[in-house]
């Protein structure tokens, strides 16, 4: 079974802090994705990566950056957290050529 893990289930941070959300997959998938999920808005793609050190902006990249130094790990960085970044963050991965995405359990981030 594919396993996607996220470093924290719940996180509380203060405005202006730098926040790191980590995602690790164990199935040698090329593609990895970061989404945020908000009530009534569904899932919105922040960034994705289709290879090590490669990244592309999704639909809402503002205020975020990403890092992919190793194939299995994809990090989402909030350079200076703001209250409007309070949300559920979901990581996913997929094999190149297969669009099925496998999701982690999510990180619920609260920015005070």
């Amino acid at each position: 079974d594919v396993k996607v893990t996220q470093s924290s289930r719940y996180l509380v941070k203060r405005t202006g802090e730098k926040v790191f959300l980590e995602c690790v997959q164990d199935m040698d998938h090329e593609n990895m994705f970061w989404y945020r999920q908000d009530p009534g808005l569904g899932l919105r793609l922040i960034y994705f990566s289709y290879d090590v050190k490669m990244k592309e902006k999704g639909d809402i990249p503002e205020g975020y950056s990403v890092s992919r130094e190793k194939k299995e790990r994809f990090s989402l960085i909030l350079e200076s957290a703001s209250t409007n970044q309070t949300s559920m963050y979901l990581c996913a991965s997929s094999i190149s050529g297969q669009e099925t995405q496998y999701f982690g359990p999510g990180t619920r981030l609260l920015v005070l």
């Binding site: 569904g42 899932l43 994705f48 592309e56 979901l90 669009e99 496998y102 999701f103």
Partner: protein, 117 residues
């Protein structure tokens, strides 16, 4: 640009009743279609997917979906709902081909299912 519409934000059914969740998509070529389910506080779990072939697709937990190209629809069905089916359901569309951006999925906004005893 691809898009997905789930017209029903919230549906309530009684346990044992049949269920149909609607999904309409917009996509310029042959779509890849997915249904995911999310239990409260959890990530998304794949229920089923359509890539090609038989337009009636069977998934896990007794769910099925039918791809209707003429209606741009991919509705999810279950003949008899169980209380454990209460969750949020997401339809998604993606495309074939090479290149990083073709691996993206576009999700609908979700349908919340409540099951009454």
């Amino acid at each position: 640009a691809q898009s997905v519409t789930q017209p029903d934000i919230h549906i309530t059914v009684s346990e044992g009743a049949s269920l149909e969740l609607r999904c309409n998509y917009s996509y310029g070529a042959t779509p890849y279609l997915f249904w995911y389910v999310q239990s409260p506080g959890q990530g998304l779990q794949l229920l089923l997917k359509y890539f090609s072939g038989d337009t009636l697709v069977q998934g896990i937990k007794g769910f099925e979906a039918e791809f209707k190209r003429s209606q741009s629809s991919f509705n999810l069905r279950k003949p008899s709902v169980h209380w454990s089916d209460a969750a949020e359901y997401f339809c998604a569309v993606g495309g074939s081909g090479s290149g990083g951006s073709n691996y993206k999925l576009t999700f609908g906004k979700g349908t919340l299912l409540t099951v009454n005893p």
